[in-house]
């Protein structure tokens, strides 16, 4: 077991493309860190550099305090789990799991006892003599995990290990991975493009975009205090709503009405180079049916009325989609997020608003409905650089903060 330190690590390919740029990251011993981002953000390249499968162009990588830039993968003592599982098709489950131990020249008895032990933990004992071709996806995934844990390496590197499983099994395996990591206490770096996996699994999450780290922190912190537009849009499902907002006479003109501003934000916007247009971000759960809001809470927010498009009842609450008039929020980050979600070529007229209302709400499709939203929970972003203006000393304070 060991800590992993990335010190200004970069990857530049011979054709000049920069896949990873100056990544600084300190992963503590036993920590579970998730690298997340849309495809092509450099997360897998980063993982491959830690594994030694890709050369590091510049910067330094230390595992357990030792510089390993020039060490071959086999000398780094790390185990990797692949999305394709990468099981050796000619070997049985037992042989697959024993392979790294056999290469390490351990004696037969030790190998057998270690494999049996790992198989017990992963409930693979009855499958030990099967070939990978005769296993289900979930079983193969467990064998791949087994092959990683038998060695008791310094660190586990996982490259989208659950992405090939169907949705239900993925949720189940998520808890298996989580429990296993806690049990073994081995430093783990886990790559995924699925923000739900990132939120649920990691001690800390690293969000990457275009080869650069956007924000590092515990999942809840990223959710509540996103440093920029990209992080805000990437984390959360359904994702944050973004609306165009124009700065006018100390308040914000938006499709949901005029939003008052607190002193601090106003001061910031008075600067000469301050943007005249902003992007307003609100998470779906910060809306509520106006009828269900008491007086005290009402004062902390704002109300608007809009036609209801679709109601999705989840039982515990309702997802209600509204159409609001006005300009769409536009920024490079938002386009990138839409492209990653596969929706870049799909956009309705006006802005769509996703809200999460209480199950008691009597909202119905086709009607107009008064909706309240919490001003303390809104975020304001500068569309030119994506910076979160409401963030003060790392905490998001809403629009009204003084």
């Amino acid at each position: 077991m060991a800590d992993i330190v990335l010190d200004k690590v970069s990857k530049k390919f011979p054709d000049g493309t920069v896949a990873v740029q100056d990544v600084d990251l300190e992963i503590a011993d036993g920590e579970f860190v998730i690298l997340v981002g849309p495809s092509g953000c450099g997360k897998s390249t980063t993982l491959n550099m830690i594994a030694g499968l890709e050369d590091i162009s510049s910067g330094e990588l230390r595992i357990g305090g030792q510089r390993v830039n020039d060490k071959a993968p086999r000398d780094r003592d790390i185990a990797m789990v692949f999305q394709s599982y990468a099981l050796y098709p000619n070997m049985t489950v037992r042989e697959n799991m024993a392979f790294p131990l056999r290469l390490a020249k351990l004696d037969k008895e030790t190998i057998n006892s270690k494999v049996d032990e790992a198989a017990k933990v992963l409930e693979l004992t009855s499958l030990l003599d099967r070939k990978p071709a005769n296993l289900s996806g979930g079983q193969r995934q467990r064998v791949a995990m087994g092959r990683a844990i038998v060695r008791q390496p310094k660190a586990f590197l996982m490259d989208e290990p659950l992405s090939n499983l169907d949705a239900k099994l993925r949720v189940q395996m998520r808890t298996v991975v989580s429990r296993l990591q806690k049990q073994l206490g081995t430093t783990t770096v886990y790559v995924t493009h699925d923000q739900t996996e990132a939120m649920t699994l990691g001690d800390r999450v690293v969000i990457m975009r275009g080869g650069a780290v956007q924000q590092v922190g515990p999942p809840q912190e990223l959710y509540d205090h996103p440093r920029n537009l990209f992080v805000a849009g990437f984390i959360g499902s359904p994702s944050m709503n973004f609306l165009h907002a124009a700065v006018q006479d100390g308040s914000l003109r938006t499709a949901l009405g005029d939003v008052p501003l607190g002193d601090r934000i106003r001061r910031e916007l008075e600067a000469a180079d301050a943007p005249r247009e902003l992007i307003l971000g609100i998470r779906p759960e910060h809306f509520e049916d106006a009828e269900l809001v008491d007086e005290d809470t009402r004062r902390r927010g704002l109300e608007f009325e809009a036609p209801v498009e679709i109601v999705e009842s989840m039982g515990s609450d309702k997802y209600v989609y509204f159409t609001v008039e006005g300009e769409r929020a536009s920024a490079a980050e938002l386009e990138e997020l839409a492209a990653d979600a596969g929706a870049s070529d799909f956009s309705g007229a006006g802005s769509n608003l996703v809200t999460r209302l209480s199950a008691e709400s009597a909202v119905a499709e086709g009607q107009s409905r008064r909706v309240w939203f919490n001003l303390e929970k809104i975020h304001l972003f500068d569309p030119t650089n994506g910076r979160n203006l409401t963030l003060h000393e790392g905490r998001a304070a809403g629009a009204l903060a003084d």
Binding site: A51, F82, Y88, P89, N90, A104, A133, L157
Partner: protein, 327 residues
């Protein structure tokens, strides 16, 4: 439609005589009839579609084979056409007790084993180089294939001139005498020419196998602690096994029928004849159709045995069949 007429007719007869029979029975017979009719029509169409190809195959393959088997059972020498006579397996006894046959058989086996083994090793090396080449991959592949593209006889002649004292650069470089007039050096040169010519083909077949090895598998082996050599022997080779066996099968069958190189280089002199050479000499030059056909049949049987061994014992997937897990 004459085939279909019977069940349909029978069906209506059943329906008429047992109009008041139990419902399930009636339903059963009704359901069965159209299904089998469909299947019959499908099968008939299948045969019809195969027929042209099957007929051509019979005309150009089955007939000559059967005819040569028939010839091999006769005493039939065109120089003495009057003595033509059915003699059963006597020709086989003659050939199989003849030392020339066994010498040629030994030479053929030697050439087959040595050339295929060397081609496998060289071909694998070449395949890995071609597979790993990042720049100018097309150029590398094309240039590697040039020997295979040259007509064998033409290439054989260039080898012959090269090894002929006086005119050839290789003969002057490597020996004092005439290498193509001695048995050992002649065989070596024949094998060299064979290997030079067919290694690219082997490499191409193996390269298709290399493409079957997933990149992740090699990465996994790296992180599992394998050296480059261990990755090759423990991961790549097992995964490539089906492709390697197919390549070996193709090349062994080809190599066993070696003819052109020997024909041009030594013309079978100094006991360098292969079985094909020997069959040619008896059949075409000697005009002994009986003995020549017997040899051809024996070659055919040997080749069939080789193919059988590869497919049944080593589990080579026949080309075109599913090449997945066979064990």
């Amino acid at each position: 439609m004459s085939i279909n007429a019977t069940p349909t007719g029978a069906d209506t007869a059943v329906e008429e005589t047992e109009r008041h029979a139990t419902v399930p029975a009636q339903r059963g017979s009704r359901r069965k009839a159209p299904l089998s009719e469909n299947k019959k029509a499908e099968r008939k169409l299948g045969w019809l579609l195969c027929a042209p190809a099957a007929l051509v195959m019979v005309a150009v393959t089955a007939y000559p084979i059967i005819y040569s088997v028939w010839l091999s059972l006769q005493r039939f020498d065109l120089r003495f056409p009057d003595e033509r006579q059915f003699i059963g397996l006597e020709n086989y006894v003659t050939v199989l007790t003849n030392e020339f046959w066994w010498t040629a058989f030994g030479v053929t086996m030697l050439i087959t084993v040595v050339t295929v083994a060397v081609e496998l090793v060289l071909g694998m090396g070449l395949a890995i180089i071609m597979h790993r080449t990042l720049v100018g991959r097309g150029l590398v592949r094309t240039s590697a294939l040039i020997p295979y593209g040259i007509v064998t006889v033409v290439a054989a002649f260039s080898w012959r001139y090269a090894w002929t004292p006086g005119t050839g650069y290789l003969a002057d470089l490597f020996s004092d005498g005439a290498p193509l007039t001695e048995r050992a050096s002649s065989l070596a040169i024949i094998m060299l020419a064979e290997i030079w010519k067919t290694t690219p083909f082997m490499a191409l077949l193996l390269m298709a196998g290399l493409a079957l090895v997933p990149e992740d598998l090699l990465k996994a082996a790296s992180t599992d602690g394998a050296t480059a050599w261990q990755k090759f022997t423990k991961v790549m080779l097992p995964v490539m096994k089906p492709a390697i066996l197919v390549a070996l099968l193709f090349r062994t069958l080809d190599a066993f029928r070696v003819f052109d190189n020997i024909f041009v280089l030594t013309a079978g002199g100094n006991e360098t004849s292969s079985v094909s050479m020997l069959a040619y000499n008896n059949l075409i030059r000697g005009l002994n159709l009986g003995i020549g056909s017997t040899m051809s049949v024996l070659i055919f049987i040997t080749v069939a045995i080789i193919a059988f061994v590869f497919v049944k014992l080593f589990g080579t997937a026949a080309p075109g069949s599913d090449d997945g897990e066979r064990r």
